[in-house]
Symmetry: C2
Subunit: 404 residues, 2 copies
């Protein structure tokens, strides 16, 4: 799953043909020289799609993106980190538009061809003059996909990139992307941004549908719908530079494209979780036997979102009752007498009865980099997998001290 | 709000006439001599009501209580701490019933007159033999209300008790109660138990309705409906020992009774929050101007439940955008351009525009024992107040290490 070797051109936002990217330090972040401005640019017009936060206090750049995506097209994405431009009123809207206009002027695009993403502190006006100077100086290249991935980071400790390919009409198309993380990936934590590019040619209505499905299988399984930050954004540009035939919902290679798209999204989502603030452990919760897939998603998300589960993993305490408790309040149908729970291959609960188990082995399993809980609700065929991370002292430290 | 002077007979479960209580160490908790068994007993039959967790994995004692309260009557409440008897299958149900039967045999009651509450670790069978020995030895008295309050504690650092009075038909009636806390009072945290008694005579259907309303104004504003632990329970016994006339929904003194009942519940709820695991600060979120009271409750609860708000308070960082962000994903209607936010009397946001404010004063305000956020949504007349606490290193420590 690791893809930190982002020098490899086959991962990241410049994996796909016809895309260049870059990043620089423009001074939004307080630390001198910290990269805080990124740009992705297609060498030709592209169709585009986006999935955005449902937070009612959606940030100005999110409102701009929704507006600029109404025609299903975009050619550039500009991102600043260090300031979310959220809860900034009319000034924030003006600033987001100024960013789009600066990019459009610099690269000869219409302003509506530019998407704007921001991440960082909420409620503080953006240093727009610095951002505009940065846009005037940024020089995107094919090789700077990793610079872009670094420039969008906030409390992330490492860049996140991924790539995948598939055949469309016998022609190889590439999909790549970069992401930045969101606190500990609890539903109400910080901001998630993901920027994807592909050299497939994709009809825009289908592109939006495919991106929505990929998000449901990845980013929406680390963050609950409707319970997201002011800035969460996932965007995808498809520029057709591969020369492959146009993809739409009826094309026989659409499933292959969606499979590759999902692979990129799941990898980025897992990278984000693994790098959650203060996280040591990736927690995977697999729920089977639910009444429905919707129930399975609810239960799996509740498990990986529970502060009690997270702290138990951090402490290496196999306090597995917290797992069942989280599923119990998730809204999913659950009968404790039918539930079976495993930690790795250690059976803790079978049809509602606590099992004797090797406590030392269970504790040790919780201290590995990956922890897997498998919960069988014994009620039906619904299944889902969700991902989270442990809750550590460092999470508190990072979030108690973070402002700018 | 403090009521730790529980030696005062006017607070706690023995404040009301005709009730005795006690507590002892029976050996459920690992630490030798730790109080872990409590009993409340009325000297005459009482009407009774209860509000319980909506967790689908509700513990065996919760199922027993729902069953035993179906006739609207109860005479005794037995509580063990140290083990929640949750996720314990058929054996757990047998153990809860054994507790009720032991109390009924000892004090000459029917088993259905006994309510059973448990709190502690989930998924571990109860040491029922020790509990039964404890029940055989416990000797409730008028003076031991505080012993009872101590015996129900788990990670609580201090006992919680409260009392209030009102006139019914010109006769003074007393309402008292004890509670134990629930982690940091985040929706998915640990267990909350509250046991209330009154010497009013109250018709049982009305008693249940009044208790539900009191819970909505107190415990349900520190913990989201449907998102609660396996064991959360609030019970109220009304024995009529005051000699006051029978209260029902149509009695002119019903509002006075409900006012006193709410006063007890709000105080206990606040005491629980203030003693949240690792908590230094009580956070009060007051939302006004919401489209509806339901919206105001959603927004206020989201604010006090947000890990980002909690860590910001802990760190003394006036990162107020997190407050608006939480309201934004709460489900409440919100227009960021109409929102106004105050920290104490410091205006941070006015009609969507960030205000200049004294950052040092704001930081200092966050480090006081009580922090008040006031959010005006500018949309209507809905209002609500919710309470939470900060999220500290000690919260992680307590929950990483807690099993037994």
């Amino acid at each position: 799953m690791s893809s930190n070797e982002s020098i490899d051109v086959l991962v990241g936002v410049t994996a796909a043909r016809g895309f260049v990217a870059g990043g620089l330090a423009c001074g939004v972040k307080a630390r001198e020289g910290a990269l805080d401005l990124g740009l992705v640019l297609s060498d030709r017009p592209a169709t585009a799609a986006g999935v955005f936060t449902r937070n009612r206090a959606a940030a100005a750049p999110v409102l701009l993106c929704r507006n600029h995506l109404s025609d299903g097209a975009a050619t550039a994405v500009v991102v600043n980190s260090g300031n979310a431009n959220a809860c900034t009123g009319q000034r924030g809207k003006n600033d987001a538009l100024a960013m789009a206009r600066a990019v459009s002027a610099r690269f000869g695009l219409a302003p509506t061809e530019v998407l704007v993403l921001s991440t960082g502190v909420i409620g503080v006006p953006l240093s727009i003059d610095r951002v505009l100077v940065g846009i005037a100086h940024i020089t995107p290249t094919r090789e700077d996909g990793h610079t872009f991935a670094q420039a969008i980071m906030t409390t992330d400790t490492r860049e996140k990139a991924m790539g995948a390919s598939c055949l469309v009409g016998g022609v190889e198309v590439l999909i790549g992307g970069a992401a930045k993380g969101a606190g500990m990936m609890h539903p109400n934590m910080a901001t998630l941004l993901a920027i994807l590019t592909t050299d497939a040619a994709v009809e825009s209505t289908y592109l939006q549908a495919a991106l929505g499905r990929a998000a449901d299988a990845s980013f929406n399984l680390i963050s609950v719908d409707g319970d997201t930050s002011t800035n969460d954004s996932l965007v995808l540009l498809a520029n057709g530079a591969s020369g492959a035939p146009l993809l739409d919902a009826d094309h026989p290679d659409a499933p292959a494209f969606e499979h590759a798209l999902r692979e990129v999204c799941v990898s980025l989502a897992r990278q984000v979780v693994r790098d959650g603030e203060g996280a040591r452990t990736l927690i995977e919760a697999r729920v089977i036997g639910a009444r429905s897939e919707a129930d399975a998603r609810l239960a799996a998300l509740a498990i990986v979102s529970s502060s009690l589960v997270k702290t138990a993993v951090f402490g290496g305490e196999p306090n597995w009752g917290r797992v069942l408790c989280a599923a119990g309040y998730s809204g999913a149908d659950l009968d404790p007498d039918r539930a079976t729970l495993l930690l790795e291959d250690i059976c803790l609960l079978r049809w509602g009865e606590a099992q004797e188990y090797d406590r030392t082995a269970a504790s040790q399993a919780l201290l590995l980099p990956d922890v897997h809980f498998s919960l069988d609700l014994g009620l039906g065929d619904g299944r889902a997998v969700a991902w989270g991370c442990d809750l550590s002292y460092d999470y508190v430290k990072i979030n108690a001290e973070y402002t700018t």
